[in-house]
Each structure stands twice: as structure tokens, then as C-alpha cells.
């Protein structure tokens, strides 16, 4: 009897060790936790915390628990390289999810290629997947997709006079060029182009210059904090213009910050927490219960990326042969994420080919259309 009990205990212990005592599989991630775009990093961390829970609740991968290690890129190339080196050389991660800043992604991309580490980029600049780096995939809408979808939607509404207001960072400059290119496809040119810097608070001068040019549509390409303030100031200075914002403007937090002035604003986004899709709703509720706020786009994109990477490891049957993991990841087609998007990786590494048109109605982001390219 005593021997049986001992044997059972030993077996239980061994099984536990196998699942949880075993060396965990490390997945790296990075985002700006401090610095100018620190909000995005916080959103990412929340999504990753839930992903780690879910992966391990399902028994981890290959009988080993998964540990997601989030590093602070500070939103800067230098910070990103430091974070990537730590993740690759110290934590020996299978892949890195992030960063959400294109400049950071471009800075760490050569390191990923050199060390053979999967990079699941969250930057939207087109060049990320055009660098010919096989280790880079992107789980986010790319700028050409977002800009084309917006312009196409606006042109369909019958608008012809467009003004562009963009951030001067790489994200904004890329957006400006993409918007001009997209307009050109419809034989149009912007009536004026204005710019601002990250961290600017007052946009009166630029908005008045835009008012002089008398556009029907104002396309704003910038980040969340600036979007909220621009919405406020546009409602004062050019109340009649149709505002098309970038993804950030439809975020729950931006809508709160705009204090009602973003009503009627249109944007493109891979995500709205109001998407009636049950997968989206279950996740959104769970997130709100845990963190006291609705999930944002980066929350769900980081979450989905972690889930897909874990799945690729399972399918590859190894966490050490990263070539094999990458090959399995790129085979994923039609994967339904908690974002509501179906991801299908193509040969260039893009997971997106569709995006939602979102309108802020009664202070919530409502999906009014879905644009799919090709």
C-alpha cells in the first residue's frame, strides 16, 4: 500500500515537472513602455499577459510552459536594439513580437536575420516586409493598405478635395507619401499638406492653414495623443470638414481623450471592440474585467501573434529549430484572431489583407465597412 502511494506521488510529481518544472519556452516581445509612445507598450503587455495565461492553461507547448518576456524599446531604435540583444542572447527566445514602431523594427531587423530569430513586426511602414528579410513577418495592417482603404472609401462618398495633416516621424512621413500615392490612383491631389511633431499640443497654426485651403476631407496620420488633441481643435476651428484618422483615433482611450469631439470621425483599423463577432466580444469582456478598460488594437494584435507563434511551435514539434517554426508560421492561413481579422500569411510575410472602416458614433467605434484587397 505504502509503495503504491509512493509510486503515484512520484508519477504525479514527474508529470508536473514535465509540464511546469521543465525549461520554459521563451517568447520575446517589445514595445515602448516608457517614452513618447508609452501607451502602446502598456496595451501590448496586457495582451501578452492574457496570451501567456491562455497558452499555459492549454498545457503550454511541447509539454513545456511558455514564458513571454516583454522588454522596453522606449520607442527608440537604440532602445530596441538593446532590448533585442537581451532577448536573443540572454533569453534565447524563439521569436520577438514587436516593436510597434517601424523605426525600431528596421533597426532590429538585421539582428533577427543574422541570428535567425523570428520577428513578428508591429510597425506599419511598407518597407518592413520589403527588406527581403525572410525572418520578418508582419501582424498588422500596412500603411498602403490603410491609406488606400481610406481614400477609396472617401472617393466613394463623392469627396474630391483632400487635405493631409501628418506627423513628422517616419510613421507620419510614410503615411503622407502613401496617401498622396493613393489619391493619385484616383487622379487626385491634396489641396494642402501640413505637418506636426510628436508631443505638440497646439495645432492652431496648421489647422488654420488647412482651413484656408478649404478642403472637404481632412486625413490625419498620427498617434493617439495627438489625434485626441487634433480632434478637439478641429471641432473648434474647422467643424465642417470630414475627418479621416489613422487607426489610433478609433481607440477607446483616444475617444475618451477627445471628449466628444471625435464624433463622426472615420478611420481604418484592424480592430473595434464593438465588432459583434463572438470571439472579439469574449476577449473584450475578459480584458475589461481584468484591466478596467477595453482592449486596444495593439492588445489584440500582440495577443494573436503570441497565440500564432505558440501554434507554429506546436506544429513544428520543436522550439529550438527556428527555421522549422518559421516555416510552420508562414503556413498559417485563415487563422481567426480575437481582433476579428482572419490572418493569412503570404509569401512576403504579410498577415493582413483586410481592414475595417470605422466610424465613431455616440462615442463608440462602429464598424461600417470592411475593405479587402486582392
Amino acid at each position: 500500500m505504502r509503495r503504491t502511494v509512493g509510486l503515484v506521488l512520484a508519477l504525479v510529481l514527474m508529470a508536473t515537472c514535465a509540464a511546469y518544472g521543465a525549461q520554459p519556452v521563451n517568447i520575446g516581445a517589445m514595445g515602448a513602455i516608457t517614452g513618447g509612445s508609452a501607451i502602446s507598450g502598456e496595451q501590448a503587455s496586457q495582451g501578452l499577459a492574457l496570451a501567456e495565461e491562455d497558452i499555459n492553461a492549454a498545457g503550454g507547448v511541447l509539454g513545456r510552459p511558455v514564458k513571454i518576456i516583454m522588454e522596453d524599446s522606449k520607442g527608440l531604435p537604440t532602445g530596441g536594439v538593446t532590448a533585442a540583444r537581451k532577448l536573443i542572447f540572454q533569453d534565447n527566445v524563439v521569436g520577438i513580437i514587436g516593436c510597434h514602431q517601424s523605426t525600431v523594427v528596421m533597426a532590429i531587423e538585421p539582428l533577427a536575420r543574422q541570428e535567425g530569430v523570428i520577428l513578428m513586426a508591429k510597425g506599419s511602414a511598407d518597407m518592413i516586409t520589403q527588406a527581403g528579410n525572410p525572418w520578418v513577418v508582419r501582424v498588422r495592417e500596412y500603411d498602403t493598405l490603410a491609406s488606400f482603404a481610406k481614400i477609396q472609401h472617401a472617393v466613394e462618398q463623392g469627396y474630391t478635395k483632400f487635405a493631409i495633416f501628418h506627423n513628422t516621424d517616419q510613421f507620419g512621413e510614410g503615411g503622407r507619401q502613401n496617401l498622396i500615392d493613393a489619391l493619385a490612383k484616383f487622379g487626385l491631389e491634396p489641396v494642402t499638406v501640413e505637418a506636426h511633431n510628436t508631443g505638440d499640443k497646439d495645432f492652431t497654426a496648421q489647422l488654420l492653414n488647412i482651413r484656408r485651403a478649404d478642403p472637404e476631407v481632412l486625413v490625419v496620420w498620427t498617434h493617439g495623443d495627438e489625434h485626441a488633441l487634433i480632434c478637439r481643435q478641429v471641432s473648434q476651428l474647422i467643424p465642417d470638414v470630414q475627418y479621416y484618422g489613422s487607426m489610433a483615433v478609433s481607440q477607446w482611450s483616444s475617444i475618451q481623450m477627445a471628449e466628444g469631439t471625435s464624433e463622426g470621425v472615420l478611420s481604418t483599423s484592424p480592430y473595434s471592440y464593438l465588432n459583434p463577432d463572438p470571439d472579439v466580444q469574449v476577449f473584450a469582456e475578459r480584458h475589461e474585467k481584468r484591466f478596467g478598460r477595453k482592449p486596444e488594437t495593439f492588445t489584440v494584435l500582440y495577443y494573436d501573434s503570441a497565440m500564432m507563434l505558440a501554434e507554429a511551435i506546436r506544429r513544428a514539434g520543436t522550439a529550438d529549430d527556428r527555421d522549422k517554426v518559421l516555416a510552420e508560421l508562414k503556413k498559417i492561413k485563415g487563422w481567426k484572431g480575437v481582433s476579428g481579422i482572419e490572418y493569412s500569411f503570404d509569401e512576403t510575410g504579410e498577415a493582413f489583407n483586410q481592414i475595417f472602416i470605422i466610424k465613431i458614433e455616440n462615442q463608440v467605434p462602429v464598424i461600417i465597412d470592411k475593405v479587402t484587397v486582392k
Partner: protein
């Protein structure tokens, strides 16, 4: 007509921004006058005031505007005294450079503490007027902007009275001019300096409270400290009237250079003017020597 409305709109925005910069500049000048140092954490004090008012008192505790304003002012006054004790007092006999370095450290500390305490999301509070405003002949003016202007004017008047007429105000002026001589007249100079820090922090707090509804509160708000610094240089260090004039100049230059020169380099233009002043007119626009400035 439309063009006139646009120019008027630019002037309104420039004056509103400028009066805030002036308020921040006043905060710099009090400490400068009292102890001859530039408190390089002044912008961070504004941010902290904004966070206490917006993040804690308004959003967390749900206090109405006036109690929240008063509590913020009191909290920041106490904070001013404490930071004086930590940052200035131990170094009072050291070179002013040392004190300025320690204020930079305080600023970094405050930014990081606020990140921990209030997180990365900008704190957005509607204030008294939300985003409502007036609209006259195509010119739209936020009520909050008018409120800011009125508050700054009232503060200036009260301050002028305080320094000219009250004994405490006069002893602050005496300490500013010759600390030792003031002490030998029986004035407790360190108490007066502590009160000066308290007052300067209170000014920063009011700046934060007034700005929060317009610009939201985030770590970036501390950057108004740089513009306030520019206002001080342009107005002349230590000059109370100059600070406000300097602030208005910076605000107007910012808006007009953004409109007609370059919106991307507007800050660079402001700082180029600042450097110009430092080289060619270090005594500031009014040209009064600092020791006579109060």
C-alpha cells in the same frame, strides 16, 4: 474677411498659449529671485500639479473643480517646501550649478514617479468648460482660454499687491536681493525661501490645472517648462512683468512661425530666438538688470 478671422484666431491661440508660458515663467522667476538658481524641474512641477488635479482629485476622487483646485494648490505648496528642503537646502552654500543639477534630477524623478503613479495614458479632464467655446465672426475661442487669461491677470494683480504692500512680500524682495543682509535684519531667510518655493510650486500647480483641460496631462506636459524658460530669457531673468511679456511673445512667435514659416520647426524658431536673446540681449526685452527686477 475670412483671412482676418484666421489672423484673429492665430492671435487668440498665441495669447492663450503665451499666458500659460508666462505663468510658468513666473514660477521660475520667484525661485531665481529668492536663491539665484533656475529650478529646471519647474515644467515637471506643472505636470505634477496637472496629475494631482486631474488624475487623483478629479478622476479618482470625483471632486468638483474648486475643491480640487484648492487641494492641488495646497498639496503643491507642501511639495514645494519639501523639495526645497531636499534639493536646495543641503546645497545652499554650494555653487548654484550644483543646485540646478539637483533640480534636473528632481525633474527626472518626478517624470518617472508620475509614470508609476498615473500610468502612460494621458489624463483627460473636462475642467469647468470642457471643449465648449465662443464663436464670434468666424473666430472660435474656448472658454477655457478666456479663463486662463483671466486667471493669469488676477494672479499678476494679487502678486503685485503682495510684493509692494505686505511685509512678507517685502521681506521676500529683501531676501532676493541680499540674503545675508536680510538675515541680519532679523528676517528668517530660509523660512522666506521655503515660502518662495511653496508659492512657485503653487503657480506651477495652477498652470497644470489650467492646462489639463486643453492639453491633457501626460509626461509631455513637462515640456511647457522649456517654453517658460524661453519666456524668462526673453523677458529678462527675474523680471516679473518681463516674464509675462516673454510668455506672450513666445506664444505668438510659436503660432505665427508655425503658420507662415514652418510648423515643423516652430520650436526650433522659438529656441533660435532664445539663443539670439542670450547672445545679444541677455538682460531681456525690457532691459532691466535682474537685481532691480522685483
Amino acid at each position: 474677411m475670412a483671412e482676418l478671422a484666421i489672423v484673429l484666431q492665430q492671435i487668440v491661440a498665441g495669447l492663450a498659449l503665451g499666458s500659460i508660458y508666462g505663468l510658468v515663467a513666473l514660477g521660475y522667476n520667484f525661485i531665481f529671485n529668492a536663491v539665484g538658481i533656475v529650478n529646471l524641474a519647474q515644467g515637471d512641477f506643472v505636470m505634477l500639479g496637472g496629475y494631482i488635479y486631474g488624475g487623483t482629485l478629479t478622476l479618482l476622487l470625483g471632486l468638483p473643480f474648486l475643491p480640487a483646485l484648492i487641494l492641488t494648490a495646497v498639496a503643491m505648496a507642501i511639495f514645494g517646501i519639501v523639495s526645497q528642503r531636499i534639493v536646495y537646502y543641503p546645497l545652499r552654500d554650494a555653487h548654484p550649478r550644483m543646485v540646478m543639477l539637483s533640480t534636473i534630477a528632481l525633474g527626472i524623478f518626478l517624470k518617472n514617479i508620475s509614470l508609476i503613479a498615473w500610468g502612460t495614458y494621458p489624463v483627460s479632464v473636462p475642467g469647468l468648460f470642457g471643449q465648449r467655446g465662443l464663436r464670434i465672426a468666424g473666430v472660435s475661442i474656448l472658454y477655457q482660454y478666456i479663463f486662463i487669461l483671466v486667471c493669469v491677470i488676477i494672479l499678476l494683480a494679487v502678486q503685485q499687491f503682495f510684493f509692494r504692500k505686505t511685509t512678507l512680500g517685502k521681506s521676500m524682495r529683501a531676501v532676493a536681493q541680499d540674503r545675508l543682509a536680510a538675515m541680519l535684519m532679523g528676517i528668517d531667510a530660509y523660512k522666506v525661501i521655503a515660502i518662495t518655493f511653496a508659492y512657485s510650486s503653487t503657480l506651477a500647480a495652477i498652470g497644470g490645472v489650467l492646462l489639463a483641460p486643453v492639453f491633457m496631462v501626460s509626461q509631455v506636459l513637462a515640456n511647457v517648462g522649456l517654453k517658460g524658460f524661453a519666456a524668462c530669457v526673453i523677458g529678462g531673468w527675474g523680471d516679473i512683468t518681463g516674464a509675462v511679456i516673454g510668455g506672450l511673445v513666445v506664444g505668438l512667435v510659436e503660432v505665427f512661425s508655425a503658420s507662415y514659416i514652418s510648423s515643423v520647426y516652430k520650436d526650433a524658431i522659438v529656441f533660435a530666438i532664445l539663443i539670439g536673446f542670450l547672445i545679444f540681449r541677455p538682460q531681456g526685452i525690457l532691459g532691466r538688470a535682474t537685481e532691480e527686477s522685483l
